[in-house]
């Protein structure tokens, strides 16, 4: 009788664990009580004991990979026994059986939360092949099945050269190209989010390749999942004429003070937050935390994800000081030289995708903050002023607000003030 070894639940709050290492290899004899693997959750490692004896027939998760609690990670059974098909995996609850993701999907679940559609699509063929390769229709050893799964090869399409058409390892060579690779090559253009996260063109992800979440991806996935599940977001958008702000920026530059449009937005947001302080509040379960300081986070995209360095004490900083601090923090964030303390303590966040020619977008709030400002690019637009049409430099900003803290009218007034400041930028210099 084959026994399925699952990712153990080591805490009520554990949803997935990382397989650190296998202590037995496929084909090795296992005695009841032997340590099969080491599994990590948070900063605690657990040695996973086998509760049955036999041969380790198959391992389904590679060292370093995350697996959802309850996922089958290995099979222990009698020698010669074929591992059971993946589809027949016994699941914790019968009623959820149909909705349960396949192991390939489960391993990737955390990743899906933060990655774009293209990446998700590319893993779908993998789940099909992993299901197919595990059926007992084609004769192949567990080793060959595993190799086929890793390479993304459908065993149904491989002609076996062994006895009774048994598929041997050598039969896998020169097998079919991976669907996903083809797909990505002729594939769609990367989405905006993907370009935000990866400034380099995305590397093709091979079909069937299961990527471990990097620490950064895991942190992003955790944060945005929590935000999206818990926070009732609503958004409000306003158009701002940036002609004057651009003029001020030019003048300051000529007088030797280099600053970016984003620095002006940080300063303007600070001034609007002073007037509408509820936007700066944090949600703390059954109470509201009133933040005395205005600490503004700036989303910075990196190749492997994004970080949000925080400019602390913005209320006390001049425009020039904000520009200097921002340049320093963003520079260090891009070089990976930023400490945890500089990434924490934010009370409001600004995400600017203007450099990608984005008109407007909606950002996800970073808990426990109450709001995030999504900034689009400045475009030439026809603006009607006093009955005549003039060329204007228009930028759209969208605030995502936590409705538990902030109501629509309040968010609108905040944007109105932000617009007023940016359209009358001299107030920022005072």
């Amino acid at each position: 009788m084959a026994t399925e070894i699952t990712m153990p639940k080591l805490s009520d709050t554990m949803t997935e664990g990382r397989l650190i290492s296998w202590k037995k290899s496929v084909g090795e004899k296992v005695e009841r009580g032997d340590i099969l693997a080491e599994v990590e959750t948070d900063k605690a490692n657990m040695e996973l004991e086998s509760f049955s004896s036999g041969i380790l027939l198959e391992t389904r998760v590679k060292p370093g990979d995350m697996a959802v609690v309850g996922t089958v990670i290995a099979i222990v059974g009698d020698s010669g026994e074929a591992p059971p098909p993946v589809q027949k995996t016994t699941l914790p609850s019968a009623e959820t059986e149909k909705q349960q993701p396949t192991p390939a999907e489960q391993v990737l679940k955390g990743k899906e939360a933060a990655e774009t559609e293209e990446i998700q699509e590319s893993v779908k063929p993998a789940e099909q092949t992993s299901a197919v390769t595990a059926t007992e229709e084609e004769k192949a050893s567990p080793m060959v099945r595993r190799l086929a799964r890793e390479k993304g090869i459908d065993l149904k399409r491989v002609k076996g050269s062994g006895p009774d058409g048994r598929i041997l390892q050598k039969d896998l060579d020169g097998s079919f190209p991976k669907q996903a690779e083809v797909k990505i090559e002729n594939g769609k253009k990367p989405t905006i989010e993907e370009r935000e996260l990866k400034l380099e063109p995305p590397k093709p992800v091979a079909e069937g390749e299961v990527l471990a979440l990097s620490r950064m991806r895991a942190a992003i996935a955790r944060t945005v999942s929590r935000a999206w599940q818990e926070i009732p977001h609503f958004t409000v958008t306003v158009s701002i004429n940036m002609s004057e702000a651009e003029e001020v920026r030019r003048e300051l530059k000529e007088s030797g003070t280099a600053l970016s449009i984003n620095d002006l937005i940080i300063k303007a947001a600070t001034m609007a937050l002073v007037k509408f302080p509820q936007v700066n509040n944090s949600f703390a379960g059954d109470r509201i935390r009133v933040n005395g300081e205005i600490n503004i986070g700036i989303a910075v995209s990196l190749e492997e994800g994004l970080v949000v360095p925080v400019i602390k004490g913005c209320r006390e900083l001049s425009l020039k000081e904000i520009a200097a601090r921002s340049r320093e923090l963003v520079g260090r964030a891009k070089n990976g030289k930023i400490g945890e303390t500089e990434l924490s303590g934010g009370t409001f966040t600004i995400s600017n995708l203007g450099m990608f020619g984005i008109e407007e977008f909606m950002a996800v709030i970073q808990p426990p903050q109450g709001a995030i400002l999504a900034v689009g690019g400045i475009r030439d637009e026809a603006v009607v002023k006093n009955g005549s049409i003039k060329a204007g430099r228009v930028m759209r900003v969208t605030i995502s607000a936590d409705h538990r803290l902030i109501d629509g009218a309040y968010a609108a007034q905040f944007l109105q003030e932000l617009k007023r400041v940016l359209e009358n930028p001299v107030s920022m210099l005072l």
Binding site: L10, D42, K43, A44
Partner: protein, 217 residues
Amino acid sequence: MIIKNLGLIDFHEAYTLQEWLVAGVATGTEDETLLLMEHPPVFTIGSGGQTENILDPSITAVRINRGGDVTYHGPGQLVVYPIINLARRGKDLHRYLRFLEELIIRIAADLGVAAQRVSGMTGVWTASPPASAKLASIGVGVRRWVTMHGFALNVTTDLSQFSRINPCGLVACPVTSLLLECVGTVSVDELKKWVTLSFEKLLNDLLPVDSGGIINT
């Protein structure tokens, strides 16, 4: 519960002792035990740790069966290895980690040092911005629900050693000690007393022995 002060003890020697105690606690021949010590300088790395986090190539880190990444132990740092049977205390690893953090936070508070958790980063951190830094590192190994390894609290540790690694896998992670954070003097021996006084009570409060379980006190 048995509490043992091992003084200054070699990492490997303490490791052997832990293994022996874990086996005994799992089978019920040994009582739950709290080991308090200091190690001569040594770098250790969790089984899932990344060797890239060791910045100084002359360091050989001992790879051990705990969670977390690379860390430094040395004189002036209180190392605490609780050998606790979680099988009868709710079988919840995260709760155990939160308990260790709570213990350290309370002891730091008794010394007038405000310390806190940072969500998603197990360990104990000082609270006062802008200089929030890591005060204690946590890394636990569990076999048959019996814990080994535990936490390392910087009391008067030589913090320069941490610049040779990315502590706990965090780039440029600031590290601090009680000596730097508190007013007055502190010593590892004094901290051992604090831990001895509060460990068992807090353990029983936060991770009580299941009803029907046998209480080995």
